[in-house]
């Protein structure tokens, strides 16, 4: 599962900045059928956690109501330069993770 994360190149300390993440995933609803008429089992990314400086900054519990290749945009306060670590898991138990570094300037 590949993911793309976007954060500003540098952020002022204390400023609120935008974080965007898009993960490649079909977000299978469980309501679709394959060509043989067999139901395709539900498989969605059910949990996504974002840690910033080691502490949880944002968490999402997603369902089949979220579009394929889930995209999320949220905000967080720039505290110190460090990594934003994302980790997620889908219904099949497959885990993914990605990190991006935030540069905080004075």
């Amino acid at each position: 599962m590949t993911a793309r994360i976007q954060v500003p190149r540098e952020v002022q300390r204390g400023a609120v900045f935008e974080v965007r993440i898009a993960i490649q995933h079909p977000m299978e609803t469980g309501f679709r059928y394959d060509l043989m008429g067999k139901p395709i089992p539900k498989n969605v990314i059910n949990t996504l956690v974002c840690r910033y400086g080691g502490a949880e900054a944002f968490r999402a519990e997603l369902g089949s109501g979220i579009a394929a290749n889930p995209y999320l945009q949220f905000y967080t306060v720039a505290e110190a330069s460090g990594d934003l670590e994302f980790s997620w898991v889908d219904d099949a138990g497959e885990r993914g993770s990605e990190r991006v570094t935030v540069n905080v300037v004075e």
Partner: protein
């Protein structure tokens, strides 16, 4: 004779008109949204306001509808949004997503893309740190529904 006919017609209209007077939409909402909201609030009163849902009034494709939810909050340690719950009136699964944030978010706003099964109302419920619950609603017309199989297996 004539009076009997009048009484009969009056009786008929009472029987026939009564179910029609109940709006269909509110009956359906009671089925899915109310239990989902109760699950979030735990029976606490739900106030309207502070939550803004932005979604196109008309969505061509229900498979990916851009949605923005924002909550008016100072986002301080004393007063912040704990969680935001996105609920759909007509999707086969009412809860679309739950987001958990805290004072570190700085700003209570989340953008995402949702799947919508038909024209409906979307409700966002925000749980605040002071224990209050606020909600915002948006109406969206969906031209082409997502998960067609769910309603027509």
């Amino acid at each position: 004779m004539n009076h009997a006919r009048r009484r009969f017609l009056a009786g008929c209209s009472g029987v026939l008109m009564a179910p029609l007077a109940v709006p269909r939409a509110s009956a359906e909402e009671a089925d899915t949204l109310t239990p989902a909201i109760r699950e979030v609030t735990g029976g606490a009163p739900l106030k309207t306001g502070r939550v803004t849902l932005e979604i196109p009034r008309i969505a061509d494709n229900g498979n990916a509808v851009p949605l923005k939810v924002s909550v008016e909050s100072a986002m301080t340690a004393q007063d912040h949004v704990r969680s935001i719950h996105l609920l759909s009136e007509k999707n086969p699964r009412t809860v679309m997503a739950r987001f958990f944030l805290g004072p570190r978010a700085g700003k209570a706003q989340i953008n995402t893309r949702v799947r919508l099964n038909g024209t409906q109302h979307i409700v966002a419920v925000a749980a605040m740190s002071d224990g209050s619950y606020w909600s915002g609603t948006a109406e969206v017309d969906v031209t082409e529904s997502a998960c067609y199989d769910a309603t027509n297996p």
